[in-house]
Symmetry: C3
Subunit: 379 residues, 3 copies
């Protein structure tokens, strides 16, 4: 690991978007399957350890498990198994220096730790972010009608967000981000639910995929006054990435300027410059570079630098978007610190800012912006 | 400021696209409102001085006002007020080393210096670039009919461009850049003007927004034989940035290859690589990296380097796109010199070109290309 | 030339996509016309030697012709003429360290060397890649009917690919990459051929340009079990670059996951990060950075680094996409080595990987991946 400026290495972090961690043993196939956004190793390719994130695991994670840097993958996984999942999870989560984790529990909830268990493992605070589409699908699963859906959803959302700090939309994964600027009216919502319920009755999958309804869910979230997170950009092969450019949200962002609710654009790569532009010109928009930070390994600092071209420091947040593997929380955190440090060290060397300024900017991105937006009690 | 190669620091510049400067006092709110493309400070964010352009002001502008580098924002603004707008404007404009400014006077003309006043302040030559849409709107404002518009517009444009060196289209801001390749015929124009006038009669805003008419205006500009500038890419929240990718102009560029008129793509970020591609393959296309150069502060050299991947040096121009704040002329200029210098210094260190070559390439981008395209008398 | 790590300088390369070389004399106009994707020198611009690829010729090619680095363009071309085309071609092709060239002979076949002649000049193996659209156009040229076309095409393709290692689609140049996910059925194909033949009978150009038929050709290639190459991204002014983003292939890639055939995305710039994402999440997708590598000259390493953010090393191939000028094979090769070396040298300096790892990754990208995908006999 390259040197990191002291005040960057030590600044407490708020990880404003991540998921739970797996608690059981993980074999090589399982590990590679969670390492990147690929489902697993390609029969035409080679091991996914032969990638920047794979190299980063061997560089930055091996020492946390008492191995030398660059230990071979098999040795690494053998040591991981020897220590056991709980010890591995504890070590990596506690190595992050994160005080608060905001967990989206909506993806594969059965396979991962819940919020309380996660907080225990990490020795930190953990908060819930509620995935809007999961709530809607649960409401349909529990039984509703086209005319009752809106009220049922609102009631269920209210209940589930009682202790939550935000909501999240995965419209990007289902219909893309070209959302209409207008809030859908009651008739549009009822009609769309009617079509959805008919498809479900006909035996089609329950999975929500309807631009009107994603939009309705988001506005219902806005009504609660909670910050709204959006999946943007990079994800697995289920995403149509060209429909996930955050610029497609422009009309929606114009429509929600006056709503009093912050909009958080998650991940954003390879559209991170576009997201940074939106965060500059729309007062309620904020961005991070989660997911790509650990995936890009030693290139993560370069991507953060590109993002910083336009986003004011008051609009940049930190997240890992780590999922499943405890290594990813550590990598996301370690590489974010590396990126901030590389950027500021070069700027300080060029006398482009003062050290006092550098320290203040680090605190903003590391935790102050998140504390302010999600109204967390600072620790 | 990092070191800049002597021959880059001293080369005279032609700023082929900028606006006037404000002549009155500017308070902190006003300053931050003009510093970036945001309308002002977000109630959810922090000061816009906490951004790369804000840091650049404190690094590169403070010394011009006799302050130490990195002077705090409030001290900086106090000193600015103490010196007075005229002295501040004069200092920054004269620090640029610019011999010729090409001014687009079409945006908020009442609030800014006109061309002659600007030339006086800067101690340099200033030339007019005429905004096509402003002329068309003035023609409608003055009273015309659907059938008379084309002739009225042509006459007015002829009059206003008598001493102008180019025209400019802001179609990007109104309808995006996906312009049809064909020149609209007289019937199409008359019909479109008819619809426009009806909307105005019905009390709707006079603002032009019609793909046919933007296109007509541009062809009318081409008829005059003047270089045509296009706003491309980055701008304020009024722009639909995903409709401002210069690649959307491809059909239009094919249609205008034989017109004998150069097309200038302004700003371009975050699509600067796309613009550079167009400048390589279309003989009449030229690019710059205005606006982003000051906004990206210490990252400006990285963006210039990306642009240089494909654009031949004979097709690259310099502009600041500075507007209002005198600091922005200085920053755009200073950061452009920094970027050219960083690029060439690294290339010289790698022995990837000779110093004689480096000096010739700098002169092309700094002023020779602009002098040739706009037929300016070299100074 | 900057230093290159020994194991990168010496690794044998498989150039999995290039074209033939011109065998006759080339004057300055001809040279500049083949140097970039521009048709030639712009009357509004300056020499195309004043570009990064032009500088790279003078830096990296002059010494191969016994000239000092940075020799002026005219001296360079005089020396080139003095040595004669055959000697020049032999020197540059043999300087590459390439063991296998995969030649797309489908563009301007009359003007360039064929495969056997190329192999002789290069002292290496050369293999054929068959351009699907050329076969289809030849079938129409030879005479077919709407109902016979599919069988005629299949028979001709089978014949021409007998000794070929892959096929290539230039759908990007004709209809863009937004191909439907479904294989067209027999009726759709017959109808589309019928429309095509009618246009040809009416005297329109024979050039294929029909989404259904490009798609049919590609599926016919898949039926042969051969790797399918796609032109993606950057090309000459004949391309609509905004229709050549590889993300537009997403539906097609989902549809071909189970086909057992690798898909090779060529060039990709400026969408190389998008292509790298596809190579990560789709098991049958592979990428390279051909064409831009020589065009971007000293910036080629930066582009390769961006590509490496997401592509696993088992999914990255090498190509030059050199065409016509022997210099381009040498530049593409030399700059690819430079890029890999710069990337790994910085990583080694940061202790982000071990030298053993670095050497293995280089072998994958340089030749092992290509040998595996195209089933070449390793040399």
């Amino acid at each position: 690991m390259r040197d990191v400026l002291d005040f960057v290495a030590e600044v407490p972090l708020v990880d404003h978007h991540c998921h739970g961690v797996v608690t059981g043993a993980v074999d090589r196939e399982g590990f590679e399957g969670m390492l990147t956004e690929a489902d697993g190793v390609s029969p035409w390719g080679t091991s996914l350890f032969e990638s920047l994130v794979g190299l980063a695991v061997r560089e930055r994670c091996a020492p946390v498990l008492d191995l030398p840097k660059h230990a071979p993958a098999d040795e690494y996984l053998a040591r991981r198994a020897e220590l056991g999942a709980e010890e591995v999870n504890r070590r990596f989560l506690r190595a992050t220096g994160t005080t608060d984790f905001l967990l989206d529990g909506g993806f594969q909830p059965g396979a991962l730790t819940g919020t309380a268990e996660f907080a225990d493992l990490a020795g930190a605070r953990a908060h819930d972010v509620v995935r809007l589409e999961q709530v809607a699908e649960d409401v349909v699963r529990a039984g509703t009608t086209a005319s009752r859906f809106a009220a049922d959803f609102q009631a269920e959302l209210q209940k589930r967000t009682e202790h939550a700090v935000g909501v999240k939309s995965i419209a990007a994964y289902r219909v893309g981000l070209e959302l209409d600027g207008e809030r859908p009216d009651a008739v549009e919502v009822t009609d769309a639910v009617g079509r959805w319920l008919s498809r479900v009755s006909a035996g089609l999958p329950l999975r929500l995929r309807d631009e009107v309804l994603h939009r309705h869910l988001i506005w219902a979230g806005i009504d609660l006054g909670l910050p709204v997170q959006f999946h943007v950009g990079y994800g697995d092969s289920d995403v149509d990435l060209h429909r996930c450019d955050p610029l497609l949200l422009t009309a929606f962002l114009r429509a929600t300027r006056g709503s009093g609710v912050p909009i958080l654009l998650l991940h954003n790569y390879p559209f991170h410059r576009n997201a940074a532009y939106l965060a500059q010109v729309f007062e309620h928009v904020f961005v991070d570079t989660g997911l790509i930070t650990h995936n890009a390994g030693l290139r993560a600092p370069a991507i953060l630098a590109e993002t910083l071209e336009l986003v004011p420091f008051g609009k940049l947040l930190f997240s890992t978007d780590a999922f499943g593997l405890a290594e990813l929380y550590h990598l996301g955190t370690s590489l974010f610190r590396q990126g901030l440090s590389d950027f500021l060290e070069a700027a300080l060397a060029a006398d482009a800012l003062s050290e006092v300024d550098a320290q203040r900017l680090v605190r903003l991105a590391a935790h102050q912006n998140a504390n302010r937006i999600y109204r967390l009690e600072p620790r």
